[in-house]
Symmetry: C2
């Protein structure tokens, strides 16, 4: 087979892989939103089968030969095809790094550990989790070793690379070091300033679910969510799922607190706009996929934290909130709502954290997961190490492990190497938003009018439309002039929380 | 490979086939209920890929050898395994009867014809349909010829066999002949009797959708629908989809007529109960599937026509209808509602037909589709032949082709051989219901109390729980003492419409 025929055959196979994965994505969404509770075994069987089908496409015996042949003809490919072939190789390498029995062992260990985790969390008892988590750690170490060899990367980087292609721990260490030197002091100053500013007025509920749903829908329409290619539904744990042509975001409503669902929907909408903004014609090939978790998280945080917790957006949203719930009075004025939406307070729970303390939660997890995987921290000592870290970084100690080291599903779920992408995403969000504001000086005024078109156009051009053509740093450099750094994030926090 | 290893390998492959098909079933449901309109190309790509994956499982080069080896060891299989192997052979034979290019040509021709049909129907212009329908007919003839050869069956039977395994046109001719000798005269007597009984009182709407939804949900709960393994939603064309563990029924609501949605839901519920009643442990093997379209339709018609249009059920339902819509007065009395729900009137549209005239619609389609496929009726003469048939069988002539030969999607959709299963199902429904009443003398009294357990238990034992262990006639003989016949259906119509 000549190189161009080999490349064409690869496109055909990766198209099929994409179709199988997209089918699975809709079935996963359905499982969390629509599926009756008695169908979980049935659905698990369907999803496991689709995974096997996908895996077989990637591990077909003639794939190495096809890829080598196609790579021999690289000079004849255009840049889009060359990037696509590079992404194919990356996907293939990850899929083939692990023997089938290790993949299966990981799935089984994660499934058993997740069950134990639910019980351990309910009882706030780490001992219930320990045996299955030991197993997950042991298997994760084997996974990391196998991937390190296949990818030629250090152990932890090989795990990270699955979520953030090109992500490297040496960079993370440097970036987190800068944040560590900055955030604790900033936090104290913000707390003092907020304390001095006096009491906040809480918004008085209840807030009917239907009114919340309508408000959320109205707001994401304003931002640019396209209901011809997406849905908004309810699930126990909010997420963005589906496909780039059919993006499905979910939330959950609390009648006593509408901000949580509203800000959650705006956050997921950021993820959704990234998917919706991927080039239409590319999304059935690897080069058409979103770049990685760092840029994905940057898009949700850019929308939620940078754009929608800004004073400008709250000025636009406040009257619409009052209208949605039929409220008025001092608590419902823009200033008070903006102060509520930018309140900083150290807490135990990561997912409830504000943008100042959130990175501290992540730094703790990053530090601990590396120590566990590298053998420096016996798993039995995790609760103590967690609490020490919370005291050091946030100045508070959780009253029990359910509010401590048992709070997240990621470790039981075998998603080691995932946590740092949250904070790298926050850094990228600040950097991209600053660049967008510099490029479009009227951006915030437009947002205050409910016009997101300038922002969305800039994001489409500089992030969404690039798919996986280049790596994360290249995309950031082209968009902002800099590789990923902490400067814009620090400047953002100082501007929002210490000046004005 | 020894025979038992070959059989075990076949079970593994058919399990995978089932999982792929079940995944496709949920995606099909989603397409009709949840999918945003911009995602149809994306979804078509997913479904086409899953079809290819399923087809490749069935056409794997080693399948003939595996089946032959397994069949050599038939003596060592238990009866369940032997039946499963027989069903595997049947599924394989249908899948392998057609060369891949003919399958693809059929899909493409049906898709083009369906598009033309929508336009032709809108404009009531058969000429718009003719060219693409010619193509569908031509391909259907090739399909029939290929299947006839593979199955060793007459041409039309080979098409019918896909929907109703074991179904034969000689049987249909005989059964339809008996109906033809019976129905037109019965119809005249029923019309005269209903005319003599005087004016009916129409139910006064509007009927809010939410109240209709609640009433439908209440009624199918009464009948035994299990919401832990199913859902009720809205779609443009009502259907029952999903899987046996996750059955999804749909309806559409008309604010001016609640009977349509309610009776539609009860009809689909009959389909759903069949799926839900299939043996839990079998449903990932061919022997665990529903037997065929005749028994499937029998279950929906048994529930809708036999059980839920009975005087007994209406006596139970009427007070609940009054409560659901806050109504009272003479129109809302049981007698009037029952008369409304058993009103007979020749009409142009099959899907709106009552149970007396419905078989006449089917006999017309059966006669015409055979004539077309056998070359006795040029397609251009279809509208005239249709109208002649309507005059002969129902005494009315449609004012245009939209209300005549353009009303159904089946022919454009390439579903030739499907129509007769509707009426065979109606015969089976009457026969099964009569047997259930004979076996459970208190059945109707229980239904009048809203207790469907005796009926459902009988159906579970005699129909649902048998999956595809035996053929349709064997199941009917064991359940009713007779192969499929017209006697019970005729007795039912006489009893409901001419006595009492």
């Amino acid at each position: 087979m000549n190189p161009s025929a080999a490349y064409a055959e690869l496109e055909r196979r990766f198209h099929r892989l994409s179709a199988v994965n997209r089918a699975g994505a809709i079935l996963n969404w359905d499982r969390s939103t629509m599926m009756p509770d008695g169908a979980s075994d049935d659905r698990a069987d369907q999803l496991a089968t689709l995974n096997v089908v996908a895996h077989e496409i990637l591990t077909a015996p003639d794939m190495p030969e096809l890829m080598s042949r196609a790579e021999e003809g690289k000079g004849g490919l255009d840049s889009w095809q060359a990037a696509n072939l590079r992404e194919m190789r990356h996907v293939w390498t990850h899929a083939n790094a692990l023997p089938a029995d290790l993949v299966e062992a990981r799935t089984r260990a994660a499934s058993a550990c997740e069950m134990a985790w639910r019980e351990a969390k309910k009882q706030a008892n780490f001992k219930i989790l320990l045996p299955t988590l030991e197993k997950v750690v042991e298997i994760t170490k084997r996974v990391g070793a196998a991937k390190a060899q296949a990818l030629g990367l250090p152990f932890y980087d090989a795990l990270l690379d699955e979520y953030e292609p090109g992500g490297r721990s040496a960079r993370i260490d440097a970036l987190f070091g800068e944040l560590k030197a900055f955030l604790p002091d900033l936090l104290q100053r913000v707390l003092a300033r907020q304390h001095a500013a006096g009491q906040l007025l809480e918004l008085d509920g209840p807030f009917p679910v239907e009114a919340q749903r309508k408000l959320g829908e109205q707001m994401i329409r304003v931002i640019g969510f396209d209901f011809h290619h997406g849905r908004l539904d309810v699930s126990a744990h909010p997420f963005t799922g589906g496909t780039a042509d059919d993006v499905r975001i979910t939330t959950r409503y609390d009648e006593h607190d509408f901000a949580r669902a509203l800000m959650g929907v705006l956050h997921e909408c950021g993820h959704a706009l990234y998917e919706l903004g991927l080039p239409r014609d590319w999304n059935r090939q690897p080069v058409g996929n979103a770049r990685g978790m760092v840029l994905h998280e940057s898009q949700s945080l850019l929308m939620e934290m940078q754009a929608c917790r800004s004073r400008s957006f709250i000025a636009f949203a406040a009257p619409r909130m009052r209208e949605a719930f039929g409220k008025r009075g001092p608590a419902w004025e823009t200033d008070n709502i903006h102060r509520l939406y930018t309140r900083v307070m150290p807490g135990f729970i990561r997912v409830d954290a504000d943008e100042v303390t959130y990175p501290l939660h992540i730094m703790l997890r990053y530090r601990l997961e590396r120590a566990i995987l590298e053998g420096d921290l016996p798993l039995a000592e995790l609760p103590g190490a967690w609490n020490d870290g919370m005291r050091e970084l946030l100045g508070i100690v959780p009253p029990n492990d359910a509010m401590g080291c048992l709070q997240d599903i990621h470790w039981p779920d075998a998603s080691w190497g995932y946590f740092p992408t949250y904070t790298l995403g926050a850094l990228a969000a600040a950097q991209l938003f600053a660049a967008a504001r510099a490029a479009e000086p009227g951006l915030m005024d437009e947002i205050a009018q409910g016009n997101f078109r300038p922002l969305l156009t800039w994001l489409r051009t500089n992030v969404h439309g690039k798919g996986s053509l280049a790596d994360t740093d290249r995309i950031l450099i082209e968009a902002t002039g800099q590789p990923l750094g902490t400067q814009a994030f620090k400047a953002h926090l100082e501007s929002r929380y210490l000046s004005a």
